[in-house]
Amino acid sequence: MLGLHGVGYRYAGYAGPVLHDIDLTLADGEIVGVVGANESGKSTLSLVASGLAPGSIGGGLSGTLTIDGVDMAGRPLHEFSTRVGIGFQNPATQLSGVTGSVFEEVALGPMNLGLPTRETVERTKAALATLGIDQLAEREPRRLSGGQAQLVVIASLLAMRPAHLVLDEPTAQLDPEGTRLVGEALRGLAATGTALLIVEHKTDLLDGLCSRIVVLDAGRIVRDGPADDVLADPRLDDWGVDPPSRIRLGRALAMRDLDPALIAGVVGS
């Protein structure tokens, strides 16, 4: 279980905090989506939840971050890496740049954990297979397309098998098929007990994937509830968030006095 309790965060050199009084708990196996307009603090929340802020980038943190009930204040960063994985939106900067093949790139994390070679290889193969990118194993990471690189980055995180995973726009560069594969992989991961915090502009991805959605506005949580309720909240537009196409289509039908239930079968298929 990952918990943020009364968390505020201020970047080094900033006059004021970017996050205010964040209270958020992720239960094991839970998938929580985070939405909000640009500059609402979504990426900062990802950094704080993964321990990188202030652990690596400095700044000031108030409140507490707990993992499985343990206060993580002052813990070394490598302790976080086995408990919380984080993926950023730009895959190019997440590739290590020190490996010659996709296989080595995905294996880098397990290797860093000091796992036996056999387990590293097993985890790497499993992560590549989960995302359907086994055929990329021998490719040079620098020569991948943006979408392929993003899948490799996610595979690298899956291979670490962290208890909690924070993803900042994991499908930003993916085509619909890649997005679907990532969605399936994340669902499978949650089924094994991994808690997922997904920051995403594409509410269509969160719709049906997340059990809970959190809305951030100006660094504060303004809405936290079951995904269906939050995604149907008419205030989403005011918070700078596009509702998923299912909701928009339903509203369009309702405006023409058509039954919104008509689209259920279409969207479901």
């Binding site: 980038i57 960063l77 890496s81 984080i86 994390g109």
Partner: protein, 209 residues
């Protein structure tokens, strides 16, 4: 060295690159050595400067050394994958951090060139003139410097965060996935070369060669 380059199929490229790298230094070495080196046998004079046999001899020795250094560095870079090299260093006990810094440094150059190319194209698309005279080209380079450096620094920060999240800073040894093939004759050859190096240095110090 020539045999190794021939075997690797890079002899022609190696000689060309080494000549290109050595040429600018060679010109200044020849001019300075030939005309300013003190000597008794004057070959010819240009104004107040005498070209001496001793100067030519010194210039020739320096050029040969420079070319040998250039050839050996060039041969190493052309035949060795830097990543394989540093991973093998790590296998032999060098810290992964040192290995990473070494690879990142080597890999930074092409990455910066690539970034500069992309930014240059986007600047040209917005009307910046980078063709023609030296002045125009210089004017085209200046707007690249800021974005290239700032972008590279941002990338480094993001990459280091990503590496931290993949346990890169965890203390302790890693189990590397592979080892460089190292055949018996290669080990013997390495030791023989080290012995030859020591013997040559000793002979040189003792004045035998």
């Amino acid at each position: 060295m020539v045999v190794l380059a021939l075997r690797a199929g890079v002899l022609g490229q190696l000689v060309r690159v080494s000549l290109l790298l050595t040429m600018p230094i060679a010109v200044s070495v020849v001019l300075v050595s030939v005309f300013t080196r003190a000597g008794t046998t004057v070959l010819f004079a240009i104004g107040p400067f005498d070209a001496t046999v001793e100067g030519v001899d010194f210039a020739a020795q320096t050029l040969v050394r420079l070319f040998a250094i250039s050839l050996s560095i060039g041969l190493f870079l052309m035949t060795t994958d830097p990543r394989a090299f540093v991973f093998d260093l790590e296998r032999r006990g060098v810290s992964p951090r040192v290995a990473f810094v070494a690879v990142a440094t080597i890999e930074a150059v092409p990455a910066l060139v690539e970034r500069a190319g992309v930014i240059g194209e986007s600047q040209r698309a917005r009307g910046l003139d980078t063709e023609g005279s030296v002045r125009a080209r210089l004017r085209g380079v200046l707007p690249l410097i800021g974005p290239v450096i700032i972008g590279a620094l941002t990338d480094v920060e993001e990459r280091s965060l990503a590496l931290e999240s993949r346990a890169f800073s965890r203390p302790g040894r890693r189990h590397l996935l592979w080892a460089m093939p190292d055949r018996t004759w290669e080990r013997w050859l390495r030791w023989a070369l080290i012995a030859l190096l020591v013997a040559t240095a000793a002979a040189r110090i003792s004045g035998r060669i």
